[in-house]
Structure formats: C-alpha cells, structure tokens
Symmetry: C2
Subunit: 130 residues, 2 copies
DNA sequence: ATCTCTTACGACGAACGTAACGATG
DNA sequence: CATCGTTACGTTCGTCGTAAGAGAT
C-alpha cells in the first residue's frame, strides 16, 4: 500500500551529479547558479524519493554513499538520454547526432562547453555569467 | 541569448508516451489516472519546452508529428534510464538487474506489469484502482 | 447530440532566494 | 572564527481537479 512514487526529477539528478563531482554543496551550488539551500533541499528530496541516503555529510568532507556511487553512472545516463530526446525533436537534418554525441559525457557541464563549441541548439543554452 | 531552458520533466515524457501509444488524450488520461485537462496541459508544456509541436490534434484523430515520432524512442530511453537509476540505489544484491531488464521495454505500463510480477520494489508502485 | 480536446479557475504543493542557526576544523 | 551544510519563512510558479467552451462526426 505504500506508494513510493519514485518521483525522481531531472533537476534533482543534475544537482546530485554536480555535488558528486565537486564533492561540495557550495561549489555545486555555485556552478548551478543557485544557492546552497536549494541544492541541499533538492538532494534531500532526491534521497527521500529514492529511499536511501546518497551523500555522507559527516564533518567537512562530503562523500558518496554506496547507493550514491551506484546512482552516479545511471544519473549520467538519464541526463544523457534527456539531452538526446531534446535534440531529437530539433533534428531537421541528420547532422545533429554528432552534436549530441559530443555532449553526452559532458552533459553536466552544459553551461560552458556548448558556448565554446558554438553549436546552434546548444548555443541557446549558453548563459553569460561571471 | 535566448535561454531555451529545456526543462523537460519525466512526467511530461510519461504522459507523452501514453498519448503516443493510445493516440488519444482521453484514453491516455484514463490509463494515467489523471483528467484529460492535465494531460493536455502537460503535453502543451512539453511542446513549449522542446520548442516544437509533437502531436497533430486535427479533428478526431490524434497523430504524431515528425518531431513527435522522433521523440518517442528517445522518451522511452529516458524513462528506461530513470527506472534503472531508481533501481540502482536499491540494489543491495546483484539479482535486481534482472528485474530492471524485464521492465525496460514496458516501463510505461508500470502500473499493471509490476503488480503481476510482484517484484519487491516494483510492487510498491502498484496501485489498486478500478 | 455526443465525443474529444482546450481553456478558465481556485487550490495545493514544489522550488527558489533571503536569512538565521548549528557544527566542524 | 571562518566555512560549510541545514532549517525557517515568504514568494512565485507549476500542476492538479472541477467545470465550461469549441470543433467535428
């Protein structure tokens, strides 16, 4: 009777990967252009949704838990697939697949890489921040 | 300079696939246990997010547009990956991968298939509705 | 006339930013 | 004491359900 819902959001995964990479809520929040409290709340809601703690916030070091380490590659895959889905609807000609494949492993760094590449669709996601 | 956001939600994709399969907002809404207006609004927001119409609602027939047809397999891949991500954190023993692989191609029918299988994690998602 | 999708409306919930708090080195 | 993460609070935006409207067979 317990409806676990599994309401995992793409934003939650993006925030989680940012923290997992930086191993810091502060740096992750800075990279995501949001405040720490937002990242904290989002990670907490993600942990609630999946039903397991993902990060070990003991002392000053943020470490991945066992479940968190297992989630990382899968979270990458989800964001990768989501990016592919977004590009699919914009693919009027076949040459877009190259762009997608280029962004796959760097999907969490979408804020700077696409700007450098200057690709048409990705360029629209570039943001000019210090 | 146009920030396209790309705020695609997993729920939107699930709704979209339901409509794409049923080719009907009404039947899709019934299967998803929500009202038609909710599905309509969700699809519309998805179309706004991806920046292209996905469904052709002319007359009584709902048909997939070109972009919509391209999105379907990618949307499946995203939901598949999301399901894999949820299972990853719950994988205490290695035997779960079989359950995941079983659910991949039927991820949009999560409401009934898992109930039949009676798997531990999936069973929590089963809902008892008429 | 009936079925299907859309739009309007009020209400609930989620996420954000600001700000204050607790803990660790 | 300085930094990092959490909690509290008010605002804003999205989604839901109910209900009414437009189009087509």
């Amino acid at each position: 009777m317990v409806v676990s819902e599994g309401a995992v959001d793409l934003r939650q995964l993006e925030y989680f990967l940012a923290v997992a990479e930086e191993l810091s809520f502060t740096r992750a929040a800075h990279r995501l252009h949001v405040v720490q409290s937002g990242v904290s709340a989002s990670i907490k809601s993600l942990e609630r949704d999946v039903g397991a703690p993902l990060l070990d916030r003991s002392s000053k070091h943020v470490r991945l838990t066992d479940a968190g380490a297992r989630l990382v590659p899968q979270a990458y895959a989800v964001l990768e697939a989501a990016q592919r889905a977004r590009d699919a609807v914009a693919a009027d000609d076949g040459e877009l697949s190259g762009t997608v494949r280029l962004g796959t492993m760097t999907s969490v760094r979408l804020l700077d890489v696409p700007a450098i590449l200057g690709s048409t669709t990705a360029a629209t996601r570039a943001c000019s921040c210090s």
